[in-house]
Symmetry: C2
Subunit: 403 residues, 2 copies
């Protein structure tokens, strides 16, 4: 729990006061009067090139609402009752088809579980792994601190795996019972897991949680299919609507191998948190009507253009970003962590939020030493009209002396 | 975990096969082709007077969608991003006002947490209690088996409290660290906690989880305010939209005392399962526009009429139902559990689903002995057009020989 506390302090939910315990941070918690929205707005930086969120202004509000209306009009009353804790059969059936087609996932609807976003799914799987006797989870040495915190809070010990130019070094997985990987587009480094490493991961035999957070966004080559297809008995596939639509929907899905299905179902019964039945019906209708594919095609085109503009702008400064074949972020490697920190601070002075690799580094044994330095540039996040300025500010920050 | 498994088996999610472990039940899990909806329908009984669900056909579909449209049109983009794991500030502020007005709850928005229905909230609170050192939870000797299962799965030992004509016997709470109560309308027995008992519960000092599942539906007297108002430092108030609107929305709320706020927040970070931001905005708008109050007034009137018809119909057979001052169910006490079982079985033969008190009895030390017998008649569930027939069948079942 100490880990979770320090994470909450770091994220500003709690305030640590030496000698007086922790208390909930005042910033977001009090007095939600008329001024609250403005104050919340103030926390949002003017320009934001941090990774982790898509362009929220591109969420298809009108199409989503029209679909919700259609789905609700067609829904018999009983679908408004307590939903199956594993998710509505309708959505699970539609997702089985979609995931096979779009990501090569091998899934029966009976193996699909709907969750409230990836973090919820991860907590459920980690809880299930623990109850099934798993002790140690290998995690990529660079990845989301929040995800590591969730795994630890569920009782798992972490074992960082180095990440090199071919992705996570699967050969180092020995000693762990399970592994959390981002095979299609390593977060944050951006590499795709090398085919040889994929085969190693598939043959390993331990449970692999495949975080396919941005698998739909592939630009230069044929999509890399899900690792799950190589080893459906060992891999838990995890997908989400947080990048393809919006994180605010809190919709994600797991494809669970037979060996974990009972343990996962028991976790869902022990802490039921199924998303709204209406939202599940809406997503099912959005996918089967083709609206979801259309939205992804549109977004893929827009993000690809942004990526090209980012790469071109930096090339003019003789800088080279990596990890750009997919996803919504790229990495600008730097030689020193000092430089990384200076650039993040300088950007903040320009009203531009940036994130360094340091934020994502796992601590402890097996963690990459010496630490790499770099900026993780999330080009997905700004609304379309703000991207030009965000890019210009990034270039200004990078072209100044001291890099 | 054994408890959760047997509960899942009981609810049909898992199939227990002697000597071969458990597997997920086939019934709801396979082949979701065109026939699936029909097959799912077949599980729903023709007439249903079990408690636990409101009339789903009364869900205000049109008003809810219109409100969603309005809420989404007014929402700035950032509200589509990752929501505060405690819920959107907008909804928490609106709920603080609503709960004070409608239920007498004393709550700052900072103490309100949005959860995915009561069961999710209960899991979060039980997890928080455990992490704060609570070992034993007193539960009413009659109550939801699923709720007891959740508390146990989170690691709490249960201690059943007898329930008499004045509600839970608070004097027996000694030895427990916390208690789960339904003060406004005991589930399933229907008694209101006596004012003297309320004072005892408020003075006790252990944490009380107040399950106010149907607090809005009060018919004959002034509403009984929330117990939380008497002891906001000790009582976790838990409310839900599952009875007032529909369980499928998966929206509930907690009012958390200061002493548990950090532990609850840590639980939410360890397994984030916040409901959709859009749904939270929609509920906030629905409450502040007056739509929620209108819906509750309309439903209260309809349910009151149904209750009156039930009481009158049974009176004509010289039968007397109890627990009818509030809520969506009444109890017909019987002298023997045998009779209860026979009536439930006979009703099933008439296409009528009924539930006996036995379903809700807690096992173990302190549980009511000898067990009471009775039928828990949920008059909220049938759609309006089916209520007359449901009632007629109930009367037919009760008037036959052998009671």
């Amino acid at each position: 729990m100490a880990e979770v506390y320090s994470q909450l302090v770091a994220e500003g939910w709690l305030t640590a006061r030496t000698g007086s315990g922790t208390s909930v941070a005042e910033r977001r918690a009090v007095d939600p009067g008329p001024g609250a929205a403005a104050r919340l707005e103030a926390v949002v930086p003017r320009y934001d090139l941090r990774p982790g969120e898509p362009d929220l202004s591109a969420f298809p509000r009108r199409a989503w609402l029209a679909t919700a209306r259609k789905a609700l009009a067609a829904a018999p009353d009983h679908l408004l009752g307590y939903p199956d804790p594993r998710g509505l059969p309708q959505l699970r059936a539609v997702l089985a088809g979609y995931l096979a087609r779009a990501r090569g996932v091998a899934a029966e609807p009976a193996h699909i579980v709907i969750c409230a976003g990836f973090a919820h799914g991860l907590a459920v799987v980690c809880g299930a792994l623990c109850s099934a006797g798993t002790g140690t989870l290998a995690v990529e040495a660079y990845g989301h601190q929040a995800h590591r915190g969730i795994a630890e809070a569920q009782g798992l010990r972490l074992r960082p795996l180095p990440v090199d130019g071919q992705g996570a070094v699967i050969g180092e997985v020995a000693g762990a019972d399970a592994a959390l990987l981002t095979p299609a587009h390593q977060f944050p480094l951006g590499v795709t897991l090398h085919p040889q490493r994929r085969r190693e991961a598939a043959r390993w035999g331990g449970v692999v949680i495949e975080d396919d957070y941005d698998g739909e966004f592939r630009y230069d080559r044929q999509p890399v299919g899900a690792l799950q297809a190589l080893a459906p008995d060992h891999v838990v596939y995890a997908g989400t609507a947080s990048k393809s639509l919006a994180p605010g929907l809190r919709l994600g899905w797991l494809v669970v191998p037979s060996r974990l299905l009972d343990a996962v179902t028991a976790q869902l019964a022990a802490a039921p948190a199924t998303p709204s039945g209406l939202d599940q019906l809406t997503l099912a209708e959005f996918i089967s009507s083709g609206g979801y594919d259309r939205q992804i095609r549109r977004a893929r085109l827009a993000y690809r253009r942004r990526r090209d503009r980012l790469a071109a702008a930096l090339r003019r400064q003789d800088l080279h970003v990596t990890g750009i074949a997919a996803g919504l972020h790229a990495v600008l490697e730097l030689s020193r962590t000092d430089t990384e920190r200076q650039l993040v601070a300088r950007a903040a002075g320009h009203g531009l939020a940036l994130e360094g690799l340091e934020t994502h580094r796992a601590a402890g044994q097996g963690a990459a030493e010496p630490g790499r330095a770099g900026l993780v540039i999330g080009y997905g996040r700004p609304p379309e009209h703000a991207y030009t300025t965000a890019l210009a500010r990034l270039c200004a920050v990078l072209s100044a002396d001291g890099r």
